[in-house]
């Protein structure tokens, strides 16, 4: 800048001529203020064909499943060891597969007849599980068959446990598809969607077997609230069950 010359601001003409640069500058300011939103979006649009596809997703899912299974096996072992230490009822009894040879879930008596009996070591009182969870208990045995009282039968009563709120309740069959869960205290704090498992303190059936999900809660019932439980095992559809040989008597 030559001395003596007056300090010149940018002339309006120059400003008008350089408008594209101004627009670019404004755009860059915009990018800065939006923390690079435009650039990220642009990059996402361009790189979309190269994103991790279904193959990667499968690998990750299978790795996750493997990890879950290993963890489940470890926890089972751990649980068994701790229960042995505490001298509690064992969680992992011997399982016997049994075919369902007669099914009567709709009549006055909610029962199954299964094709394994006393010869295979079954006893009255053994827990019967199907894919999905507990379905009932063995009521009587013959040499090669056994009759199972389903959880929905009116004669079935079982102590259960709502894991989320850590409350005990008594699961009683009504003769309909859904048994009712009667709580022991006034305010069980359960809500629809809570998972019901067999009681950890149970002596009748192995502890922590899945039973079902609470479908509706009736707070008005006396003397204590009640809940309807949807069983997780599809009783109408099972063709085979597993009997847990826990009967030690």
């Amino acid at each position: 800048m030559a001395p003596g010359r007056p300090f010149r601001v940018l002339s309006p003409r120059l400003l008008i001529q350089g408008w594209p640069w101004l627009v670019l500058l404004l755009a860059l300011v915009g990018i800065r203020l939006s923390k690079g939103a435009f650039l990220s979006e642009l990059y996402a649009l361009l790189s979309a064909p190269f994103w991790p596809g279904s193959a990667q997703k499968e690998w990750v899912t299978s790795a996750q499943q493997l990890s879950d299974q290993i963890q489940l096996a470890q926890l089972r072992l751990d649980n068994e060891r701790l229960r042995t230490v505490l001298e509690l009822n064992h969680a992992n009894p011997r399982l016997v597969m049994a075919p369902v040879i007669s099914r009567e879930p709709g009549g006055w008596w909610q029962q199954l007849v299964i094709g394994r009996g006393e010869l295979q070591g079954l006893h009255p009182g053994d827990a019967v599980v199907a894919p999905g969870g507990l379905v009932g208990r063995v009521a009587s045995v013959t040499p090669v068959t056994a009759r199972v009282t389903l959880l929905t039968d009116t004669s079935s009563q079982l102590g259960v446990w709502v894991g989320r709120t850590q409350r005990h309740g008594l699961l009683t069959g009504l003769g309909t598809a859904r048994p009712v869960l009667r709580f022991l205290e006034k305010d069980p704090q359960v809500r629809p969607g809570d998972v019901v498992v067999t009681s950890p303190a149970s002596t009748l059936v192995p502890p922590n077997l899945t039973v079902g999900v609470i479908q509706a809660v009736n707070d008005k019932a006396v003397p204590a609230p009640e809940a309807l439980v949807q069983l997780s095992a599809p009783i109408e559809a099972v063709d085979g069950v597993q009997v847990m040989l826990t009967g030690r008597r």
Binding site: I101, S102, R103, E104, P105, G106, G107, W108, W109, Q111, V113, A139, R147, T149, D153, T154, S155, L174, G175, T176, E236
Partner: protein
Amino acid sequence: MALLSRQPWYVATALAVPILVLASPGALKLSGVPPSWAVLWLLPWALVEGPVSGALAGLGLGLMLDGLNLGGASQIPALVLLGWWWGRMARHGPPLERSFSLGLLALVGTVLLNLSLMLQFALGGSSLEALRLSGLPILLAQTLLTGLLAPMICSLLLLFWRQQTSSLRG
């Protein structure tokens, strides 16, 4: 009369009742409820054989069926009563042959059978609410289904047994 009961093969047809109860064919169910096979067999038997044989057949069926279920209520009283009633009805009135009357008799019989079970469950301590929820649909479905099947099954059995009885007698 009671000619059929001297023939072991005709008595043995009663075994079809527990077998059908156990097999509970899915095609013959109404919302999961099977028909009352005992009523369907007992009705023609009692109509052909008379009150004493009918009541005895009801007792036998009741014993078999009570052995097959979990207990808490017995079908024996209702079946004995039905066998006796139907046998008396055939003895003291004009012979029943029309499908409609067979259907009606089976319908009334199934209602009585289910009501007797309901009464026993109620006396055994089941709540009325539970009985209304579970028992009423069973009663309605079983009554309807048995009433619909009776004209087909009972009239065939009745015809067959009447023929056999007349050939045995003559």
